[in-house]
């Protein structure tokens, strides 16, 4: 509270330049001894040029070692610069300062356009990205490209499913819901059973989670194409979004779901201790669950497809998923592009990612392999969750468009949903207010609304 903010901004900027001056700038060069010190991994072939990579995948050290051992002409110098927003903040600062960014960076697909609009990412089509398009799941490729340009190579996806507690369902006499209507009925049954658990959590800070649920009812919040960076269409309050939020507003009002903040210690514990009967999850969710402590030892977890609005016309949605992009600051962009395409763009690397990092691969040869489909998960009592749930969900996902100010949009979404949960406004009003605030922001930022 003491340090003056101005001074800290200055210091952060100054140290960012000082600290990264040596690691970012000359990365494509000879690979001297001083650079090796800043890598988390040990560089195998010191003679080869190095490409700096920021990533936070679990078990990524093994993937990097495998890559470095397999390549004589290029080596990865890997740094974990934080997860999600922590990394983006650093990246954003180094874009502003003009130096300090890595050559290759892990970015979630939802933030790609936030960086392309600042001219921070390289269009990979000139480095042969189109040649590998066929190697990747369609929806994931769609998320990584904008118009004709390809700004990143997909790594993992987050097709959504429903992880549920079979034991809690059985005790309350609930059948696995396949539609949202059944989901609500099940929530009522569960509440009436006096079990103490609620059906699920609807976090006000769900961000991409909330947006994915809206998308399932046909909501298309943004229209944006990097080819026309000054034009944006904003429709966050369309019928799909309103339908979904009104549904959850009802569940919240009736006390059928919790509204705990996501990704806090409380939430993590409640996920596994029987407070929620259902975890509406992305394909990375099972890996996340297994890493949590204080789990209920008698828990019986199973996976099922996400409930649908219309069982006859199922809609699949995606939550999260990440990519590798090449930054404009990369000294050797072609080499960096090669690394971005090569890290997980082979079966060995991607299999390591699946085993060590619990990633849901976007790389088709692994995604479509029998081995992946029939992989049995002990946590789910040996259930083949990929075949049962996530592969279908991934196949049905058609991609989404995000805004170039997605972080702001999510923060505002949180503000509005929180106000709704507090009873200050209804769902429809919350989304209308969100629309108004985003339109105002976009106009202030110089966009033309379409």
């Amino acid at each position: 509270m003491k340090a003056t903010f101005l001074a800290s901004v200055g210091i952060v900027a100054a140290t960012a330049v000082a600290l990264t001056g040596c690691s970012g700038g000359e990365s494509g060069g000879g690979g001297g001894g001083s650079e090796a010190a800043s890598c988390t991994n040990t560089v195998v072939n010191a003679e080869a040029p190095q490409v700096t990579v920021w990533a936070w995948y679990p078990g990524f050290d093994q993937v990097v070692d495998t890559f470095n051992n397999a390549n004589d002409d290029v080596q990865i110098c890997w740094t974990n610069a934080g997860q999600g927003n922590d990394e983006y903040t650093k990246f954003s600062t180094s874009i502003e300062s003009g130096s300090g960014a890595p050559d290759v960076i892990q970015l979630e697909s939802e933030v790609l356009s936030s960086f392309t609009i600042r001219d921070a990412l390289v269009d990979l089509t000139e480095f042969g990205a189109n040649d590998v398009e066929g190697d990747y799941a369609e929806g994931a490729w769609e998320d990584a490209s904008s118009g004709d340009a390809v700004y990143a190579i997909p790594v993992d996806g987050g097709p959504m499913g429903m992880l549920y507690r079979q034991d809690i369902f059985d005790a309350a006499g609930i059948e696995v819901p396949t539609t949202w209507e059944e989901f609500e009925a099940a929530a009522q049954t569960l509440k009436a059973s006096g079990d103490g658990a609620v059906m699920a959590d609807f976090p006000t800070n769900g961000r991409a989670f909330n947006q994915a649920l809206f998308a399932q009812a046909g909501s298309v919040p943004f229209e944006y194409d990097s080819a026309n960076p000054q034009e944006i269409g904003i429709n966050v309050n369309d019928d799909g979004a309103k339908k979904v939020l009104e549904y959850w507003e009802g569940l919240v009002k009736d006390g059928l779901v919790a509204t705990d903040d996501a990704f806090t210690a409380d939430y993590n514990t409640k996920l596994v201790d029987g407070s929620y009967a259902v975890y509406l999850a992305a394909a990375w969710g099972p890996g996340y669950l297994q890493g949590l402590s204080d789990a209920d030892p008698t828990a019986v977890w199973r996976a099922a497809p996400l409930p649908q609005w219309d069982a006859a016309n199922p809609v699949q949605v995606n939550w999260g998923g990440s990519t590798f992009a090449v930054t404009e600051q990369a000294s050797d962009k072609e080499l960096a592009a090669k690394v971005a395409m090569g890290i997980f763009g082979n079966e060995e690397g991607m299999n390591l990612g699946v085993d060590a990092g619990a990633l849901f691969p976007s790389y088709a040869p692994v995604l479509e392999s029998d081995e992946f489909a029939t992989k049995e998960y002990e946590f789910f009592g040996g259930q083949q969750i990929n075949r049962d749930v996530f592969l279908d969900a991934a196949a049905g996902y058609e991609g989404a468009t995000f805004s170039p100010f997605q972080n702001y949009a999510y923060d505002q979404l949180t503000v509005q949903i929180y106000a709704m949960v507090q009873g200050e406004k209804d769902a429809s009003q919350a989304l209308d207010d969100l629309q108004a605030s985003l339109e105002q922001y976009a106009t202030e930022q110089g966009f033309t609304l379409t």
Binding site: A265, D266, K270, Y418
Partner: protein
């Protein structure tokens, strides 16, 4: 707070200058040595404080929007800042915090210091240390710790309230977050202010107390009529520290936001607003303007407070 020693050193430096110097060689040589001694500090001061400030100020005169790029706009960002409802709401929030938090810290610190000043046993030393310890905990750690203490799941509140068959309040809800933050800050800083006040109290000549006792003054009268007026300059200093700290309120709400994102929006205080503008929304120019605007507000508030209390603080 390391800056508290700065005034003395600069005083000395100034004391040299007004000497109407004959420009003899000895004097100039000595002056050169002076620069050498000041150099390490001056270098760091210039690089890490003055330069970034100048740079940030320059940034604040430009505008850079996502869609259109950089443009010089003069003071337009400042005009925008002082009409920006989010910035003004943030100022209102810290003003509210100031009204509650500064008196709370002062009262706790003053009472603790007065009590400790009257005790001459080992308990006094021990208590002094105990009250001071929270200040030794880094602010971020302290806030994280309180985040867990407030947590409905891990915190002790639910257990304690359950003893009486009651349900614990949610300390992280919208209506209670204000009090929860006041509590953290008071816990952290009261001990520090207590030490300042205590040191001032030890500086009073005990002969005055003897005289007061001879005149029939009670302990309480000594405390309120003699001790408090005699340390008023320290009290003014403590209020200034607390005032500046409160106007720049950042770390505690920023850390608690991790467990209460709904109750603490990104623009909760002006500093948090500037932080998220710069680092979440990439509006570095406007964030600089907000920071300077906040600096102006802090300056005005501190200046007026010092002006109003110029008698007590011994400035006049």
């Amino acid at each position: 707070m390391a800056t508290t020693t700065a005034p003395t050193s600069s005083h000395r430096a100034e004391a040299h200058q007004p000497v109407k110097h004959r420009p003899d060689r000895n004097y100039r040589r000595r002056q050169r040595w002076g620069w050498l001694f000041v150099a390490p500090f001056a270098l760091i001061f210039l690089t890490f404080l003055v330069l970034p400030l100048v740079f940030a100020f320059r940034m604040s005169l430009f505008t850079s929007t996502l869609a259109t790029g950089d443009r010089f706009v003069g003071f337009a960002n400042y005009a925008k800042a002082f009409t920006d409802p989010l910035f003004l709401d943030g100022l209102l929030t810290v003003a509210k915090f100031g009204l509650i938090m500064i008196p709370a810290q002062m009262i706790v610190a003053l009472i603790a210091a007065l009590v400790l000043d009257n005790l001459a046993t080992w308990a006094s030393k021990f208590s002094r240390l105990m009250i001071f310890i929270p200040y030794a905990v880094p602010v971020v750690i302290g806030a994280l710790m309180w985040g867990f203490l407030y947590s409905p799941r891990f915190g002790p509140a639910s257990t304690v309230f359950a003893l009486f068959g009651a349900e614990a309040p949610n300390f992280l809800a919208q209506d209670s977050i204000f009090g929860s933050l006041v509590n953290i800050v008071t816990w952290q800083w009261a001990g520090y202010y207590m030490i300042i006040i205590y040191a001032a109290l030890r500086g009073i000549d005990p002969g005055i107390y003897e005289a007061a006792v001879l005149d029939g003054a009670s302990d309480r009268q000594i405390a309120t009529r003699i001790k408090v007026p005699m340390i008023s300059s320290s009290l003014v200093m403590v209020v200034i520290f607390a005032l500046i700290g409160t106007l720049q309120f950042f770390t505690e709400p920023q850390v608690l936001r991790g467990v209460a994102q709904g109750a603490i929006p990104t623009d909760y205080t002006p500093n948090m607003y500037a932080f998220s503008l710069a680092f979440s929304y990439s509006q570095f120019n406007y964030a600089s303007a907000i920071s300077f605007a906040l600096g102006i507000v802090v300056f005005v508030f501190s200046f007026f407070f010092l002006f109003l209390t110029r008698k007590q603080s011994g400035l006049k």
